[in-house]
């Protein structure tokens, strides 16, 4: 464990600007967003989390994968797109979002499949997180067993101790940095403070919100009567999925004029009606019922089965921003109460 005076830390961070681009939470009209930082004072009082999740840095809302040109009488020219290669520091990531990066890694940089664009961005990025001291009313990371002081997914986690930060590393890259000045080993006093904070957060951690029922047979979970009810108020917009740090579905479309074009990958959402629309006109998820069920089960059943972790980090963005107040926490609670339905 290490520590650093806050002023020294920001001086050090500023010193990184030469070689690296830095994204930090900046307050805009609409809320905090990760935006380029060029060294001026950061306004972080009132910062709980960014409006948009951190996935944008590795898996942007849209990107061109290739460009092509077709000239008469010549073979088609295809140009690959290179994602930005300038090393990046992401500062101010919250522990829930840091965890979401680990989850996305399993999808885009796992043993089965490696996405070149994602990987290049990911490997070029150094994540410095800020532990949470005051969670928002929509936060529920602790209900999913994630600590607001967790370092998983961060290269360095900073914990606010008043005039200094306690610094913990979760990677070798992070550890190497912390071993050097201006970081110094944590004093016993700082460590005590950290332990006290941990104690508080452990006390606050409630029982897991993920209901037992979801580890049961899919054939039973799939037909629970609650799916027939909960979807009705959903507008089938993409707010929850686009603001979700772990949602990672995308679409690929060609944008062409007569002689040239580009192939674009853009976020897609299982909440949209045309997400599963077939060319034939058939839609296997014809109504909101199937779509809501997909979103809930993907996060809490299919993803755990495929990647051994729940694909929700409790950041609460979907809860806070849903236009009709669809609250995933309520759904989980109701699923928890469905045990009786199952035995029927």
């Amino acid at each position: 464990m290490y520590e650093i005076l806050k002023d020294d830390f920001f001086l050090w961070l500023k010193g990184q600007l030469g070689q690296k681009e830095i994204l930090a939470p900046r307050l805009k009209e609409e809320g905090y967003l990760f935006l380029p930082w060029d060294g001026e004072e950061l306004e972080l009082t009132g910062y709980t989390n960014t409006l948009k999740p951190v996935k944008d840095a590795f898996f942007p809302q849209w990107e061109a994968l290739i460009r092509y040109r077709m000239d008469k009488g010549k073979p088609v020219q295809v140009m690959g797109e290179n994602p930005a290669t300038k090393p990046l520091i992401l500062f101010g990531v919250r522990p829930c979002d840091a965890r979401s990066i680990l989850l996305l890694d399993r999808v885009f940089n796992g043993p089965k499949y490696k996405d070149q664009h994602y990987r290049e961005r990911r490997e070029n990025t150094f994540v410095i997180s800020l532990a949470c001291s005051e969670p928002a009313s929509t936060c529920f990371c602790q209900d999913l067993g994630i600590s607001p002081l967790a370092k998983e997914g961060s290269d360095i986690l900073l914990v606010d101790l008043g005039d200094k930060f306690l610094a913990l590393a979760d990677t070798l890259k992070g550890e190497e940095i912390l071993q050097e000045r201006p970081f110094s080993p944590a004093t016993p006093g700082s460590m005590d403070k950290f332990q006290a904070l941990q104690g508080v957060s452990r006390q606050a951690a409630a029982a897991s919100l993920v209901p037992e029922i979801l580890s049961g047979e899919l054939s039973q979970v799939f037909v629970l009567p609650l799916w027939d009810e909960i979807y009705r108020k959903c507008l089938n917009c993409g707010v929850c999925t686009y603001l979700c740090p772990t949602c990672h579905c995308f679409d690929i479309s060609d944008e062409t004029t007569d002689t040239e074009g580009r192939r674009v990958r853009s976020w897609d959402s299982c909440m949209f009606g045309n997400f599963t629309q077939h060319g034939s006109g058939h839609n296997p998820r014809p109504t909101g019922k199937e779509r809501i069920r997909q979103r809930v089960l993907h996060k809490f059943k299919y993803f755990p089965e495929n990647y051994l972790a729940v694909a929700c980090v409790g950041c609460g963005r979907c809860v806070a921003k849903c236009p009709v107040n669809f609250d995933i926490r309520e759904v989980l609670k109701r699923l928890g109460g469905c045990q009786d339905d199952m035995s029927m």
């Binding site: 009209e29 609409e30 809320g31 409006l51 948009k52 809302q61 849209w62 009313s137 929509t138 009810e229 009705r232 108020k233 507008l235 089938n236 917009c237 993409g238 707010v239 686009y242 603001l243 679409d251 479309s253 060609d254 944008e255 674009v264 853009s266 959402s269 949209f272 045309n274 109504t287 909101g288 809860v319 806070a320 921003k321 236009p323 009709v324 107040n325 669809f326 609250d327 926490r329 309520e330």
Partner: protein
């Protein structure tokens, strides 16, 4: 408002228990402060869960489009105008819905709102709606006084926030196209990126598609997670339609929508040279 919600609950319960409707669409308490959430009640005893308060902001008329059961709906002024529009456009059949009108529960109300009590209903809940003021469109007029460059910069800045989640479109009762132009892919009119150009084309086209049908309920803007100022576009269209064609959407049934018709003497300010041949 106590009396108001009691009447709503009693009437809703009666409608369900006498089998006049299969479902009541209203609001129940939400999970966040200041937010009530739309609900679908099918049992008479559940009607006590209904609320009518500051948090009841969504435009419920939207839900009737998907509702296959015979439904009762609890609506305020702007929802009722949307409903009238849907009837006018043959998207609903009047005998499938029982309308429980109630005065708008928002004490502050929305700027420019003129219709706080329902314009169409089967039962009207007693209670007084808040005051309405004359809508002088001062927001639109003030904006129009900025220089073209300033207006363009503002509009580009607002639209650049958009993440294309389509919450605005899906929250809008006037946006009921089975297939939206943004989802067309043969040809693909609007790109799927959030590049400024695609965002601009989406928002401008949408404003034009709902022109003459928009009732200024504000659902689009409230639904937007990024706080894009969408209402200014809609209100510009509202003002134009009102001044040019003396039309306000959703006020009475069976009026022809301004963009479905014409007058031989319509002004032609759009012509090259301002209309003189």
């Amino acid at each position: 408002m106590d009396k108001c919600i009691r009447e709503i609950r009693d009437k809703a319960q009666e409608l369900l228990e006498t089998g006049q409707v299969e479902v009541v669409i209203g609001f129940t308490a939400g999970t966040l402060p200041g937010k009530s959430t739309p609900c679908f009640i099918t049992r008479g005893e559940d009607c006590k869960l209904l609320v009518w308060d500051e948090g009841c902001k969504n435009n419920l008329a939207n839900y009737l489009l998907k509702e296959k059961r015979k439904a009762a709906i609890i609506i305020k002024g702007c929802d009722s105008r949307s409903l009238v529009n849907l009837l006018t456009e043959n998207q609903l059949s009047r005998d499938r819905v029982v309308i429980l009108g109630a005065p708008c529960p928002l004490t502050e109300g929305c700027e420019g709102c003129q219709i706080k009590s329902p314009v169409i209903y089967d039962y009207l809940v007693s209670g007084k709606a808040g005051k309405t003021g004359e809508d002088d469109f001062h927001d639109v007029k003030t904006f129009a006084r900025l220089s073209p460059q300033e207006r363009k910069e503002y509009f580009y800045k607002e639209v650049s926030k958009c993440i294309r989640c389509y919450a605005c479109r899906n929250a809008c009762p006037a946006c009921y196209c089975r297939e939206c132009f943004v989802e067309n892919n043969l040809p693909q009119w609007v790109g799927k990126s959030t590049q400024l150009a695609d965002n601009l084309i989406f928002h401008l086209t949408r404003a034009l598609h709902v022109a003459g049908r928009c009732v200024d309920c504000g659902a689009c803007q409230r639904a937007c997670p990024m706080g894009v100022d969408l209402r200014i576009l809609n209100r510009k269209m509202l003002l134009e339609v009102k001044e040019l064609y003396q039309f306000e959407a959703g006020l009475k049934e069976e009026q022809e929508l301004p963009l479905n018709t014409y007058d031989p003497g319509d002004p032609e300010p759009f012509l090259a040279g301002g209309g003189e041949a």
